[in-house]
């Protein structure tokens, strides 16, 4: 037991450690922020040490709360799964950029088995992940149905209508773009027709917005539904699997990029007229950064879901 310091040893009250409360998640801060702030002031007013140990304790605790999320465990499992869903959407955007930038790369580098293996692995894993995510959505359908029957439609209506409107627009834009492309020469389709390039970039931005809008529908629905433990367990497993798959796909992409970049950098842009002489293609660098970021977000989401489900299991078991 430490002895209480004398009045002479007491420090002047300063707001120092309280500023670290900003590191906590907003929801946690709204609930406990004032109390924790009052406690820190009490500790300071009593002349106790609020030096690096207290600050380290606050930083560590804030990091733990950030990793853990807030609220009840079942809500946190769904929150973690939603985070993985957002990460997957970002990852898909990165993957689409890689695919578009390097399309027809096999024509330039047809006999490279290592690059082909890495690229094939990437495609196989992405199909498997899409199937797993579809499975996750399928097991959630009964909970979504219960939400709709309980009058939950107004809570997700705005997002669903927005995503639907975007989907209709993307379909119409795709049809128009395909018809336009059919009238152009291969060179015109690959960068020589600047008006077509501008239209294609607008279409890509619209498609990305549409993907993010449906992800927002999924995330919003996840916060509204009530799932049983079996479904939550499935979501937790899927979140972990998707995070691991994303790490593997990021590694496969980087391996493919390195191999092709060393042997034929021009193939990274499909060997087109716009072929970059260096392996450091700006679009690929952006896509790789997006994929790495998405993988990190997915890892955080999967860990959150796993921890919350473990806590939920303990809570239920111990009643």
């Amino acid at each position: 037991v430490s002895s209480r310091p004398s009045r002479r040893q007491r420090r002047r009250v300063t707001p120092g450690p309280s500023t670290l409360l900003a590191l906590y998640p907003p929801a946690w801060r709204r609930r406990y922020g004032d109390e924790l702030d009052a406690l820190i002031l009490d500790i300071q007013a009593d002349g106790r040490d609020t030096g690096w140990r207290v600050r380290a304790d606050l930083v560590r605790s804030a990091a733990r709360e950030r990793l853990r999320g807030g609220g009840d465990p079942s809500r946190r499992v769904r929150g973690g799964s939603s985070l993985v869903l957002w990460a997957w959407a970002l990852f898909a955007l990165g993957g689409a950029i890689v695919a578009k930038t390097s399309e027809h790369w096999q024509r330039t580098l047809p006999a490279d088995s290592a690059a082909s293996a890495a690229f094939s692995g990437l495609v196989v894993i992405s199909v498997a992940v899409a199937a797993v995510i579809t499975g996750g959505i399928t097991v959630t359908l009964p909970a979504i149905w219960r939400l709709l029957r309980a009058g939950g439609w107004p809570r997700i209506r705005a997002r669903v209508l927005c995503a639907t409107a975007l989907t209709v627009t993307v379909v119409a834009a795709t049809a128009g773009l395909v018809a336009w492309a059919g009238r152009l020469s291969p060179a015109g389709r690959n960068g020589h027709d600047h008006l077509y390039v501008a239209a294609f970039l607008c279409w890509a931005a619209l498609s990305a917005t549409c993907l993010l809008a449906w992800t927002a529908v999924g995330a919003r629905t996840a916060t509204e539904i009530r799932c049983g433990r079996a479904v939550l367990r499935t979501h937790t497993c899927i979140a972990g699997m998707v995070a691991i798959a994303m790490a593997a796909m990021t590694a496969a992409t980087l391996a493919w990029w390195t191999i092709v970049g060393n042997r034929a950098p021009g193939a990274l842009t499909g060997g087109s007229a716009l072929a970059h002489p260096s392996a450091l293609v700006p679009q690929l660098m952006f896509a790789a950064a997006l994929m790495v970021l998405a993988t990190a977000i997915a890892a955080v989401g999967a860990i959150r879901a796993e921890r919350a489900f473990t806590e939920l299991s303990r809570f239920v078991t111990r009643g």
């Binding site: 109390e35 924790l36 702030d37 406690l39 304790d57 606050l58 605790s61 804030a62 733990r64 111990r318």
Partner: protein, 110 residues
């Protein structure tokens, strides 16, 4: 507090033990825990444990308003504390028995 992590310096266990003698706010909890267990909890650790315990409805705030909000043990919290202490007692009793047997064996052999 979990049966797999029942340790005498486990923050949730210390908080439940402290609240067993009556409601307390954050600083009173820190002082009490330091006095009876000799453990100085950091403010972040204390409120992290309070948040878990409140989520599991083992403790509850007495007053819903104010910056120095006192907490008290719920009936579920009292049961949890009782179960955990029983587990700890079982371990200390077993440890004591084994030590005593070891001592008597060593004494008999000398």
């Amino acid at each position: 507090v979990s049966s797999t992590r029942a340790r005498s310096n486990d923050p949730p266990l210390l908080i439940l033990t402290s609240l067993a003698s009556g409601e307390k706010h954050g600083y009173a909890l820190l002082q009490d825990i330091e006095q009876f267990a000799g453990v100085v909890l950091g403010p972040g650790t204390l409120y992290g444990a309070i948040a878990r315990l409140e989520e599991r409805r083992l403790i509850e705030p007495v007053d819903e308003s104010g910056r120095r909000r006192p907490y008290r043990l719920t009936a579920a919290g009292a049961r949890e504390l009782s179960d955990t202490l029983a587990e700890l007692r079982m371990i200390t009793d077993e440890g004591g028995r084994r030590l005593a047997a070891r001592t008597s064996f060593a004494g008999g052999g000398a």
